[in-house]
Symmetry: D2
Subunit: 301 residues, 4 copies
């Protein structure tokens, strides 16, 4: 099928990615740190920049960068959700051609070091690998303005050394996997949760609480498959926080294969594993409240 | 707003990611190589695996892996588009609970080495960084089955040392960027093109042709912004290949900053640059034929 | 100068790199985990493999891999130092052509998750980015056999938001840096410490203790330069542990630049920084006891 | 053994790592590009900076950065070897406390794009993954000054689909590998060659020539092991270029495992492979002329 219609710009967006903003609060002897990776994305009346090269409506990505750093100072970064709401709101409210703004933030965690048994005032070590995330979309001017907040965590690497099986699965002519009733289960979880509101939420408390629910569900559910574990994790978060509309989970199955020591006359007994790199199973689940409001542009990349 | 409705599984998919399949054709003295990274994703009647842990409909990701390798042997990998069509078709047609399958393939390029001025029969060096990609979706059983093919390239790193400007842009109180009428322009392009059909296409010829159009447009258009360059690149591909419905482009602006040598009494004259890492501008454009057929699930991650 | 002498093999070594060994102890309900990346390197009578292709003395790297996994079962991995000593000793003592073996181990840390306020028996989350390391070299047969142990940590990312300056440095015609008496100081430390013995050391206690000394020194020394801080860190470790002969430290200066908000009429006051990627200062220091025994092959890559 | 001697600074060095210098020659319509990653390392009279924090002899790493960019303008970057010689010479000759300087350079390759069948004047695409390297050390003042140049290539990924075997190797109780007389052989080569002189060398010609010898040897030698192949590669380079004193090669054995399709009733016939990530064999060889001059500090990290 050959097409002959006119060629058009059917979608576009632009922004500044990966601004590495670090904010220190130092009003008191005990400093606080917020270590962020901030990306801005704008949509709006920008077609001329693409079609004719006319930049008159384009706010440079360099300006977006400056703004991300300036907003880290004032209003500051109490939480990444609030910071992103402020920054997105600014772009939509104050820059005429902008119809919607999306701010993606990653926050790297730091732990205060201990000196002589006490927490130090201004020294930290990085912890991870897990990273807290927030994705905020603001759309519309004036009283039509609406906002969506998605919180999340990525690279939450979690492992259980028993309490997991995989059996009674469908087979075909290409199936060689043996069923198992005791295996290691490990993943590097990415989870994102959509809020029903942007106001009145204790963002830090909810983050800590959801993370705890995810981890507890992973640990305590006797798992018949990573699929089942993911659904349980998402459901636990939704049950605990009625302010959540849905939870999206993506989980690589970080395979740990029993190393065949029997060839050397050694019984492995599920104690020595090879941690494989690629390929890996990759499982996705979206768990929702049935009465969740429409997501609007919240998930639009 | 607090939700009280039932908690449901609203979406799910699963598969085996990053199978590193290498296929050698060695029927003749002159061998051929196809070096692939293959990911499979299945959708269908899999809710029970999530909700109750019942795996009876789940084709293990390990089986999907085996199948990806087996299909590399037969029917083989003439092109990644054909290979992915065959593999996706198998999962949907032959595995009852599967409603749709998505196969994502990356192909790494190798160049035959020269020995004594002649191409060697069975030795190659890797070339890159650019990677050819294909994403194939097959949905539906029997006569309802439909398929979508998206070709592409990623990490096509391209740079021009003049013929690019950025000026006459919008400013606000956070704007400090100076306009420039001669700058370096560089990106690591990701481009994907959706075909209107899955049959009768010379996949290799189209890939080579589109790549040439993209590169030529980048080189020859005097650029007023990366946005303008991207639109021109997409339009050039569509114009050359009526079998394409749309082209999606994502381009980081790999900033090269003039190094300030004036502080040392040296005129730079646009010859010495610092190649910056982060942050970077990130520009997206979708260029389409107005009469393009609906994309269906082609772009659904 | 043109050379005409015979061409010879002047050095060689070989091994299996990055065996991802995971050892679970599950004799009791409360499991233990050791998550390792193990590399083996052998030296010895292997010249024929290079010169004539004669493999008769070559123990395959595949065999080395099998051995690394088998030794993780028995004698097991109480500490990575003991495991590496056993594995290296085996290669030298039991494989005739091997003159010396070097085992490099990285250990990834896991933290037991909390469920209902209690530590879970068999579920953990990964912590990091810091990684504990050990490098063990064993050389010689029978009563001539000797061994060297180097412990270490890498990617210990540490930051202080004040208590650091850099001023009164040498300048030349290319110097533009302004002196500062209050800056952020951050690094991703690599430290390695050489032990004077392989026996009678409480490896875990020493690791924990050295890490604490390194971190405390970084926090408490008012720093006139990263160089000074590194020397103090190494000296603190040596002072606390007379069983150490030397400490080698490598520290990228992870620059955090004050973002210039004055352009927008905002006083930064040392609160908003850009965390830069490249380039970075890179400082090395070796701190030793003057009566340290010779290092022998301990540091030989 | 417990040490009681004084704690001393036994070694130190410092510099600026990974300056991303891009140099464009634009005197004519046809531009030229040099894309570099430059690291500087200084040794000298810097102990006070470590021990007492006295920075008076320390040339800041920021100044080293400025100098790397300034030298890219003048004398410029005809070849990375000459650029590094000039930059290292400056630090040693012009900065009093510096005893020796080591400059490490990586050069990324770009290929001129084709437009309408002709090479474009100022647009290129990146090629790789291979990277040309140079490591230059200059030591001493005035007439005592000496210099060493090491050229090299890294990430030269090369593969042959036949003409490689591995058999008749030593076995022990942990050996399970089957001998093979036809396997795939692949590596990502790192090679470095030390020159006997710093003058009168056509650096570009030698680089191209050595690369050709390395590749041809890999292709044409029927390989009994990667060890044998490496020695032959190094010897070929030395034979072709008497100006070389030695060649050091490091080669991961990028394992490609025959995928077991027999389980599905399919004969593989050496055509379908799994390209594995970790672990990998890692082979090192140093090939030298017996009359090579002493390496001095050339290889000192």
């Amino acid at each position: 099928m050959e097409l002959t219609g006119p060629i058009v710009l059917s979608d576009n967006r632009y922004g500044k990615a990966e601004n590495r903003v670090v904010r220190i609060y130092r009003d008191e002897a005990r400093h606080e740190i917020r270590d962020l990776n901030v990306s801005t994305v704008l949509r709006g009346d920008f077609a001329d920049a693409y079609i004719s090269g006319d930049q008159s409506k384009v706010l440079p990505t360099d300006t977006q960068k400056n703004t991300a750093y300036a907003y880290a100072k004032e209003p500051g970064v109490q939480t990444i959700e609030e910071y992103a709401l402020a920054l997105a709101g600014h772009f939509v409210s104050d820059v005429e051609p902008v119809d919607s703004a999306r701010i993606e933030v990653e926050e790297y965690a730091w732990q205060r070091v201990s000196v002589g048994g006490s927490e130090h005032d201004h020294t930290w070590t990085r912890t991870g690998p897990e990273v807290r995330t927030a994705t905020v979309t603001v759309r519309g001017k004036g009283s039509d303005q609406r906002a969506w907040v998605i919180g999340g965590v990525r690279d939450l690497v979690i492992l259980k050394s028993t309490g997991s099986e995989f059996a009674d699965f469908r087979t075909d002519e290409f199936t060689t996997l043996a069923p198992t009733h005791d295996r290691m289960l490990a993943t590097a979880l990415v989870a994102q949760w959509r809020f029903t509101t942007t106001m009145g939420v204790d963002w830090d408390e909810v983050y800590t609480g959801i993370r705890a629910r995810l981890v507890e569900s992973f640990a305590t559910l006797h798992s018949k498959a990573l699929q089942q574990t993911l659904f349980a994790m998402g459901a636990a978060a939704l049950e605990a926080y009625p302010v959540l509309a849905e939870v999206r989970l993506a989980a690589p199955n970080k395979h740990h294969f029993d190393y065949d020591l029997g060839r050397f006359g050694i019984d492995n007994h599920g104690e020595v594993f090879h941690a494989a790199d690629r390929p890996y199973g990759l499982i996705h689940a979206t768990v929702s409240r049935e009465d969740a409001p429409d997501a609007g542009p919240a998930w639009r990349a």
